[in-house]
Structures are given as C-alpha cells and as structure tokens.
C-alpha cells in the first residue's frame, strides 16, 4: 500500500535514481559502442554477461531480503557496464561473471544496497581482479582486432604495451599522440576514448548528473602533479601522457563522482577531488601495479565522510533567514 504525504511540500520533481542512472548509462553505452569498433562483438558479449550477472545478483538479494525490487533503478546495469569497460577486452567471461557477482554481493548488497555502500562497487571489483589475476588484468590487446566471441583462448591475439606501463618505466610511449588521444593503443576496453569521455562529461554536467566540482578539482590537481613531476617528456607533453593513459579520465568522470560514495558538501567536493588526484598519482608512481587507480578510489571513498564532516557548515553562518520570517 502506498503512503501518501500529508505534510508539505505536496509537489515533487519527477527526477528518480533511474533517470539519473539512465544518463550515465547512455554515456557508458557510447563507450561500449566505441570499444566494439576496436575489439569486435566480444565487447557486447562481455557487457551482456556482466550486466546479466549484476541484475540477477541484485534481484536475488532483493528477494532474499524481502525488499522492493531495486533492479529498476538501473544502478546494477551501470555497475555491470563500468566493470567491463575497466577490464581488458580479453578478460575471460568466467572472470567477468565472477567480478560482477563480487561487485553486487560483496561490495554493495551487504551494506544495504544503493546509497548505503561505502565503496564504489566497480572499483572494488577491479581491485579484486587486480590482486587475484594480475596476469590477466595487465594484458592489453592491440587495436584494432577482432577477438574470439566466447572463448577464453587468446593464443591468436596480439598484445601490446599500454601507455601506463611505458610511463612506469619512465620511457616515452611508442605511439603517436593522435593514436593515444583517439584510443587506438592497447588499454582497458573502454577507457581510452578520451574525446567521447569529454563529451560525456559535458553532457552529464549539463544534466546535473555528476558532481563536476570533484571532476574539476581532481583533474586540475592531477595535471599540476603531472606537470611538476613528469615521468616521460616534459611540460605539457608529460601532462598529455599522464592524462590520456590508463583510466584516470574515466575515473574522474564516472567513478569518483558516484553520489553514494563521494563527498557531498560543496567545499568537501573540491577537497575530495584533489585528494583523489594526489592518491592516484602516488599509486601510479609508487604502487605495486602500474595502474592502481581503483585502490586510490577505494581509499578516497573511505575518507569521504570525514571530509564532509569537517566541511559542513555549522551555526553562525551569515545571512541566515530567521525562521519566523517565512
């Protein structure tokens, strides 16, 4: 039975989690389509497996907990798509299914589902895969090539060095700048299409679907660190290589802006974004793995509530409206 409100206000916006997630989903789908051009229909199979597993797990949890079905808020679909875009395209289907189940059953559901999880589920899944199967996580197929549709046997596939690995070795990446910018280099499946990511960022900011302050401060600080502490090339060349490598841009737009796990107060968002940038830069330079962004994101998610706590405004703010004047 529906509960009808009898206290003001008596009108509501028609915004729902599904509407907000839908906008993010549109952007992730565009990245999926781009990756399909480079890797063939295998990406669509990866997406189908991941999304299906996420939906089944979400539905099963809702049923077991006797809660309303939460699949319709589309968060499980967004998680499923994010995961496969953050993995190499050659990731076996069984591992994709495992990671999708991990994201929902371990990183999200036990904490109470959407809005109550402390860590970004797709970041947790990628971290789990990085620790458990590093040999699979850092093998990037060359582009373009058509991958086997269902098989895990990648013996016929050629692999290449990613830009992140070159930077780790303090060497210049052996690719043209234009190839790097348009994603035509070995990388994670869907995080190398920087032009598309920029357009998606503009769209999401315009639609108020993401917290742009976090993205802006993260990228600003990351660029500053890359400029001051270059690993390959100097000046803006070094910035170019750092920014358009790995999945820093994808993370800055889609992952660290996750409403449930990021800082919520306005000044806190700037601090949070800057903190993410510092941690990601540290992980890249001194972490065990060449690309440790997922670990940095998890640590930042843990710190977000503390950042909110110290930046929320308390009594004493000027221009206060006296409640009696309303």
């Amino acid at each position: 039975m529906k509960a009808i409100t009898t206290s003001p206000p008596f009108i509501r916006t028609d915004n729902t989690p599904a509407a907000i997630m839908g906008r993010v989903l549109l952007c992730l789908t565009s990245l999926l389509i781009c990756s399909s051009f480079y890797y063939g229909a295998r990406m669509l199979v990866n997406a189908a497996v991941s999304v299906l597993c996420c939906i089944i797990c979400e539905y099963a949890v809702s049923r077991m907990a006797r809660l309303p079905n939460t699949v319709k808020d589309l968060s499980a679909v967004v998680t499923g798509l994010s995961i496969i875009l953050l993995l190499p395209a050659t990731t076996p289907l069984w591992l994709i299914a495992l990671l999708a189940c991990f994201a929902i059953l371990i990183a999200k559901a036990p904490f109470g589902g959407l809005g109550h999880n402390p860590f970004n589920p797709s970041a947790c899944a990628v971290a789990f895969a990085t620790i458990g199967w590093p040999e699979l996580m850092f093998k990037y197929p060359s582009v373009p090539q058509t991958l086997p549709l269902f098989s895990s046997d990648m013996s016929g596939v050629s692999f290449g060095t990613s830009v992140v690995e070159s930077l780790r070795n303090f060497s210049l990446p052996p690719y043209r700048l234009s190839d790097i910018f348009f994603g035509a280099v070995p990388n994670k499946a869907g995080t190398g299409f920087f032009l598309v990511i920029f357009v998606c960022a503009a769209f999401l900011i315009m639609k108020k679907a993401i917290r742009w302050r976090i993205t802006a401060s993260c990228l600003a600080v990351f660029i500053l660190i890359a400029f001051l502490f270059p690993r390959a090339g100097t000046g803006f060349t070094a910035v170019f290589y750092e920014l358009f490598s790995g999945y820093i841009l994808f993370a800055a737009v889609f992952m660290i802006t996750d409403p449930a796990t990021s800082a919520k107060s306005l000044p806190g968002q700037y601090i949070y974004g800057a903190f993410c940038a510092v941690l990601i830069s540290v992980m890249r330079r001194y972490g065990v793995y060449a690309e440790g962004t997922c670990f940095a994101i998890i640590i930042c998610n843990a710190v977000a509530p503390a950042i909110d706590r110290i930046t929320v405004k308390t009594a004493g703010r000027r221009h206060v409206i006296n409640a009696e004047q309303k």
Partner: protein, 441 residues
C-alpha cells in the same frame, strides 16, 4: 529587477491561464463556518440573528476582530481545528439571502459607529486601528504591525506579492485587476505610519509582463529560484511587508467603510479542470469552492495556505476560508518512501537555501540523535521544502528536520547554552557572498 540567490529550486508556476482570467466572485453559501482564534471572546450566541459586518468575536490579546460576512443566523458554536489557524472556535451560520429587519439594520449602523465610524477623514494610525484588518501575509493584526513599523523606524512599506509557489497567484491577480485601489491603499497605510517610501514587489511571471503589471509605477519585479520570497524579505533592511489584499481591504475601509469579510483565493491545482482566482466570503467551506472548479475524477488531496510547498493538508470539506488562506489546491497525491530509500545523491544539499545537508540531518533526526542534528544546523531550517521537492529517492527529509528543530527549540528553552557555546563557531570555508540590496533593481 532583483535576482536574489542561486540556491533553491525552479518550480513550474502553472499560473498563466489563471491570471489571464478575471477574478470570479463566489456567491454566498447557505452555510458558513466562521473560524475565530481559540482565545477570542465570542460575542454572539446560538440562535441569534445578525447583520452583515456584525462583530462576531474579539481576540484582544492578539488584537484580532472578526466580522460577519453576511446576514445570518448562528446555528452552532463549537471548538475545532483549522489547518492554518490551529485550535479555533467555529461559529456556524446559516446565511440569509433575504433582507434583514430594520432593527438589525440599525444595529449594523450602530456597530459601525461603535467600531470607528467612517474614518475617510482621518489619515492617522487610529484609522488602521479602527479598521481591525488582519494582514493576509501572516494573519496578524495590521494595526500592531504598522505600529511596530512606525516605532522601529521602517524606511519603506512594501507589498509582498512575490508568489513563488506553484498555482497560487491571488495577490498577483488582485494587482492586475485592482492595481489602483491596492496602490492607493498602500500609500494610505504608509502615510498613516509615517513611512516615506513604498513599493509593490511581485514575482517575475510571464502573465505579469503581458498584463503590463511589471511596468507599473512602484512595482519591483523579483526573480530567482524558490524560496525567493523568504530570501528577499529577510535581506531587505528596514522594510516592512504587508499583503496586497490587506492594502485593498484598507482602501475599501477608508473609502466605503467596508469590513474585511471577503478574501481573494486561488482555487487551483492539477486535479481541477477549471481553476479560478475567486473573491470569497470568509467562512465559506472549501468544498463548495472546489465544486465550482470541476474537480477531476482521479483522487486528489486538498492543500490550503500559501501554496503547495508550504501549505497544509486537510481532508475536511467544511474547512472554512479564512483571512490569510491564499490558495485552496486539489493536487495529485504524492507517494512517500521510507528514509532508507535515500541513496546519497545530495541534490537536497545542492538546493538548500540555508546551505544545510538535509540528507545527513534527516538521518540523525530520524534516529532521535538531536545533538548531532543540531551540530549540522537543523535549527536553521526555514521549512521551505526544497529538499523534499528535489529528492529523487522520494523521501521527505524536511519533516524529520523540522521535528528535530522543534526538539532543539524545546531543549534550548529549558536548558540555555553555556556562555562558551553561545558564540557561534565559523565553519571552514564559510561563504562571504553578499546578497543584493532591496532597492537594487
């Protein structure tokens, strides 16, 4: 034009059709339910026949006087609860459309003399006192307000017709159709209190532009997101605000000797097919007015007050119209979800005009953690409803925050803060943005 702030919400106004129509004069209903404040002394008895403008009750503590809107017979007097006035006494009357006896006519005249006569010759505060007009803006005695304005050296007297809530537009409609009378009433009031400046503040509406109201002398157009009215009036220095209807009623009192027995209300909402702005006798049951506006077949809830954001719910069709009831709305019911539905999008924090974090305060308030709610500034909530409006999870954070606020106020009344805690602590990164002055356009 004054643009007040960037926080808040943009609400669809739904007023263009309403303002394009004339004001509808609702006739007298057979039964009237006249609400008077609980502490008022009732001066009529059951079975008594009385004339229009007869003094029904007087609340001397609040300086409120209530006059009969019609020739009528008192059929019952009982206590009840009104969604806007709280605990009230209801004087139920059976109105008489036929003429009244000459004796009652004399009574009506003598009543008029007892209560001030025809003061069009006087331009002092005494005429405001004698008018016994209740300000529609806050249902307070107009005389008390004007006296307070005069004493505190208010520089400007303004009409607050900044109707920034959906549907509600009775003040704007009155200004469009009776601008000269309202304006004159405002000048008379300002003159009576010795206030030199006056202005009429309206909300930026397409209908106001089209009708030419925005270009009239003395009109200030205020734009901005809801709750712009609260924001604008709070930052206006040395300015007193009254309602447009109040000025119109005072004009009528000075020129015609009429008592405040009718009010202008918007009868609207998305469940009415023919919404109208109406001139309604006080005491008319709201059900009769809703019937005149073709209610839709689908279920709706009734909301009375300033509008759908701050109004009050009622399910009693006999709820009477009172002075200060600016709108009667029949709205689509809104479903409310459990607070656990909050998924942390923090849209409420983005729109809160007070810079609060409703999602956090509501969670603490729900679990009766009043201290934590107070630390987050729950007492600064103004009850505008922006957080609940924008919530994508379908919860109602404002309700929890206002409950916590009530508890905090109770605690502070009984246990004042120690001196060390009374000086407010500055928050990190406190904003220093100045708000525009009231005379900037």
């Amino acid at each position: 034009m004054a643009d007040v702030h960037s926080r808040g919400i943009s609400i669809k106004q739904n007023k263009s059709d309403l303002l394009a129509k004339n004001i509808y004069a609702a006739g007298l209903e057979d039964e009237l339910f006249f609400s008077v404040t609980k502490g008022a002394e009732i001066l009529v008895t059951k079975g008594e026949k009385l004339a229009q403008n007869r003094l029904l009750a007087a609340d001397e503590k609040n300086d409120l006087h209530f006059y009969s809107p019609a020739n009528a017979t008192v059929t019952d007097i009982y206590d009840s609860n009104h969604p806007l006035m709280g605990e009230v006494s209801i004087i139920k009357m059976s109105s008489s459309k036929a003429g009244i006896s000459p004796r009652l006519e004399e009574d009506a005249e003598s009543m008029r003399d007892l209560t001030g006569g025809m003061p069009e010759r006087e331009r002092k505060l005494d005429s405001v006192k004698a008018s016994h007009i209740i300000d529609v803006l806050d249902s307070r005695s107009l005389y008390r307000k004007m006296t307070a304005f005069a004493k505190s050296g208010v520089r400007a007297l303004c009409i607050n017709a900044i109707e920034d809530e959906s549907f509600s537009c009775s003040e704007t409609a009155l200004l469009i159709h009776k601008f000269a009378e309202v304006s004159e009433g405002l000048h008379l009031l300002a003159e009576a209190a010795g206030i030199k400046e006056s202005a009429i503040c309206i909300y930026k509406l397409r209908a106001a532009d089209l009708s030419g109201l925005a270009k009239r002398d003395g009109v200030v157009v205020v734009s901005g997101k809801y709750p712009v009215s609260a924001r604008y009036t709070a930052q206006a220095k040395r300015t007193g605000f009254v309602g447009a209807q109040t000025c119109y009623d005072y004009y009528n009192y000075v020129n015609e000797g009429e008592r405040q027995t009718k009010v202008f209300v918007t009868v609207g909402g998305d469940r009415l097919k023919a919404p109208k702005n109406m001139l309604v006798p006080v005491g008319t049951p709201i059900g009769k007015l809703l019937d005149k506006c073709e209610p839709a077949k689908e279920a709706g809830i009734i909301v009375v007050g300033d509008g759908p954001m701050t109004g009050r719910y009622t399910n009693d069709l006999e709820t009477p119209v009172t002075v200060g009831m600016k709108s009667i709305l029949l709205l689509k019911p809104v479903e409310i979800k459990n607070i656990t539905n909050c998924w942390g999008c923090a849209e409420c924090a983005r729109v809160c005009p007070q810079g609060l974090m409703p999602l956090a305060i509501a969670r603490f308030a729900r679990h009766n953690m009043t201290q934590e709610a107070a630390q987050l500034g729950a007492e600064r909530c103004i009850g505008c409803g922006c957080c609940s409006y924008i919530c994508s999870g379908g919860i109602d954070p404002m309700r929890f925050i206002l409950e916590a606020k009530g508890e905090i106020e109770q605690i502070e009344q009984t246990e004042p803060k120690p001196a060390a805690q009374q000086k407010p602590r500055k928050a990190l990164f406190a904003r220093k943005k100045e708000l525009p002055k009231s005379d900037e356009q």
